[in-house]
């Protein structure tokens, strides 16, 4: 493993509401990012449902954490990988997803999209390339 800052990959494979995993993952990611870790996020399988835009849990009486994903860019979490095959299998496309953005400090604070759609093969390579994998 490389010295110094470790690369962390948070793997999200669960839908947002059936279990507490999605919310817990998001909180852990934001805490980790506050400590300036090098953080990447992966969404595959049912995890892609977390990023579908327009969900609102108000009527469920549980915390509506959909807007919190929009804060990831502020916390400098700028690499969000979403697996194309997982979207396809669920009848979703990139257009169905939230528009997560970040401001690139090295490019005059230009707004850039954080989400990158990757193939299953690329996802496997991303997993292999990180130092630590945390699964939710």
């Amino acid at each position: 493993m490389s010295e110094g800052v470790k690369k962390f990959l948070y793997v999200n494979r669960k839908a947002p509401h059936g279990t507490i995993y999605a919310l817990e993952a998001l909180e852990v990611v934001l805490i980790g990012a506050a400590f300036e870790q090098d953080v990447e996020l992966a969404f595959l399988d049912d995890g892609v449902f977390q990023l579908v835009k327009g969900w609102d849990t108000k009527d469920l009486g549980s915390k509506n954490f959909a807007p919190t994903y929009m804060a990831l860019g502020d916390f400098e979490v700028t690499k969000v990988f979403v697996e194309k095959e997982s979207l396809d299998e669920r009848g979703l496309t990139a257009d169905d997803l939230m528009e997560l953005m970040y401001e690139d400090e090295d490019d005059d604070w230009a707004e850039k999209p954080s989400i990158r759609i990757v193939s299953r093969e690329e996802m496997a390579r991303i997993m292999a390339a990180n130092d630590v994998i945390l699964s939710f």
Partner: protein, 110 residues
């Protein structure tokens, strides 16, 4: 445990964060600030209002690093730095200002 705001009681946890976010009022903020030994000036209100707006939009309190960056963008570098924020809120800008702003305790930050 509760704060007393002109005869009304507002519940808080053992660290002083209010239990019900919708209980917050400007008067309550003054009461919490007094307990924290913070005298609220316009500069303090700027930060507290900013935190409330941020929470309203994202449902999360910003980490200190995020707060500094966002303050810098909105109010300029003379206010968007650690020193300025710590002078206003000596016990940790995010933590102390969040308490006064009526937000939940920020996760993993000062």
């Amino acid at each position: 445990m509760a704060y007393d705001v002109n005869g009304t009681t507002v519940e808080h946890d053992e660290e002083g964060y209010i239990t019900n976010l919708s209980d917050w009022t400007k008067e309550l903020a003054e009461v919490i600030a007094k307990e924290e030994n913070v005298e609220m000036t316009d500069e303090h209100w700027e930060v507290v209002n900013f935190l409330r707006e941020y929470y309203d939009e994202y449902q999360i309190a910003p980490a200190i690093r995020v707060l500094v960056k966002a303050m810098k963008k909105k109010f300029g570098p003379e206010k968007g730095n650690n020193k300025y924020l710590y002078e206003l809120f000596p016990y940790g800008p995010a933590k102390q200002a969040c308490k006064i702003a009526g937000l939940p305790k920020p996760t993993g930050c000062v």
